[in-house]
Subunit: 337 residues, 2 copies
Amino acid sequence: MKRLGKYSYRLGSPVHLVAYDSYVGKLEKEGPLGKWFKNYSNDEYFGQDTFEKAESFIQKEVINNVITNSKSLCSDIDFIFSGDLLNQCIGSSYGVRNLDMQHFGLYGACSTFAEGLILGSICIDGGFAKKTLAATSSHFCSSERQFRFPLEYGNQRPPSAQWTVTGSGCALLSSIPEKNNGPRILDFSPGAVWDMGVTDINNMGAAMAPAAVKTLSRYLKDTSSYVDDFDLILTGDLGVIGHDLMMRMLSEEGIFAGENLFDCGMMIFDSEKQDTHSGGSGCGCSASVMCGVILPQMEQKIYKNILYIATGALMSPMSTLQNESIPGIAHLVHIVS
Amino acid sequence: MKRLGKYSYRLGSPVHLVAYDSYVGKLEKEGPLGKWFKNYSNDEYFGQDTFEKAESFIQKEVINNVITNSKSLCSDIDFIFSGDLLNQCIGSSYGVRNLDMQHFGLYGACSTFAEGLILGSICIDGGFAKKTLAATSSHFCSSERQFRFPLEYGNQRPPSAQWTVTGSGCALLSSIPEKNNGPRILDFSPGAVWDMGVTDINNMGAAMAPAAVKTLSRYLKDTSSYVDDFDLILTGDLGVIGHDLMMRMLSEEGIFAGENLFDCGMMIFDSEKQDTHSGGSGCGCSASVMCGVILPQMEQKIYKNILYIATGALMSPMSTLQNESIPGIAHLVHIVS
């Protein structure tokens, strides 16, 4: 490990992303990235009794797929890092139960997938593990009733609102490459919790954008790099409004991001045609875009050098009712292939 | 780092617990460990508007106390690991906001404090950090309305129910000792998620005991050690019923734990006099007992060699309503002084 400046870390050896898989719902399959999503279902219950059980089910499925595809045994995998948006992270706890894999439960809202990649990389680089898994999930229907209203209520959503992605992503990290020049993690920069006083739960992009700007600008400074050095800078799920705000805030810091700054929440849906307002959100958003689309594209050398910045809005419905503002966090991972 | 068997890890160099602090409520102060708890309040709101804000407040207070007592600067501390029981872990997110410290949010229910000690130790041993913080909290009143009923309802609690501790604990981990022979972490063994089909949310001890037994027996096997080798084996918060069950399950595995097996949930309250039924529970239970009582006692050499096994019941009120059983997890940390 080499420390890069105050906030960023370079791994002693790259950590290889040797297997990954995603599982999404109908709307995600119908979106602009649909052709990349191999596993999907038109049934929002995914054959389960409840939306919450459906979410656990897809998380369990992607974990099992990744293990099977990588020809690993559960016993070869040292640790699993997982989390989700549901109260007490039940999507994950029920997703991993009785797998007999040493488990670290995470809560970083929509930043959780990057948190799992970072902690897994630390364990591998520190010699504590040879292989780790990172997994997250979200589900539109379980999130709506958790954070907003039951679907039956049919509430009107303002244009700034984001649409929680139904999806799950899982990646297997390994000290040993299984393919030549597959995607691998070089550096990371974990984020701090920033609260800029945004109180509108229908505008989470605005609450998260400052954290994304802070983490990105610190990483660029630490590594003396420029936004143009990367093929792609991919934020988690700021959506249209958060993305615009991030561009403006970056330019105020003298950082002019151009065509290579994208957002998973904007990519996964065609907001106009699919009526998803400001775009996608949720733990499963950037996890399924990364595992279903970007990592396979890196394998095909469509992208070779990316920054993945997963952002999380750390509020709960109760904190909102108590007039609390919404803190944000953003974790950055530098991946090359 | 040296791997001990399949499930346990020995740190390359011990990680030193150089500062720790706790903050508890009235009932905890009145309990058998009361004289050890220096920071307490008779006001269950701790001067805040709501119980949730009170919980964030005590977590923020212990973090600040630990930083101040250790004469560290926030900028000296590389990472903070924190979590709690509230929906979306708001106790922690609001507890650490704007501290400008790189943050990893955890969810491991009542096992969270040990999870933070383990991940912090990995970061330090792996060379990624010199100092890390681990913090957790719980609050009786915020937990009751989160998991059971609003207090105003005055529901009757069955004798197997546990009483959520109002308290918070925080410890500073460091690669460098600040005192001679202070408490330090030698080994750890993270747990897996086990679900033995227990469905009674008023008997969480029974749901967690199998996980504690599994983690302890694996650690003893991995390290070829015996229960008698330790001054104290301290489980998180199994309570009276879970503790009994653990003793019985251990004896079925040929492990006969004696007078050195204690439980934080049983120690913090006098269940008969204080009417707390099966004993204490909650993230703040074992964190405040460890940081307020056991680590100071290790400094005084009352204990020199302990196993701390924090246990978590990974359910939510919604999963219970959906007839799901309660998975359990237990993380073990070996501390000497």
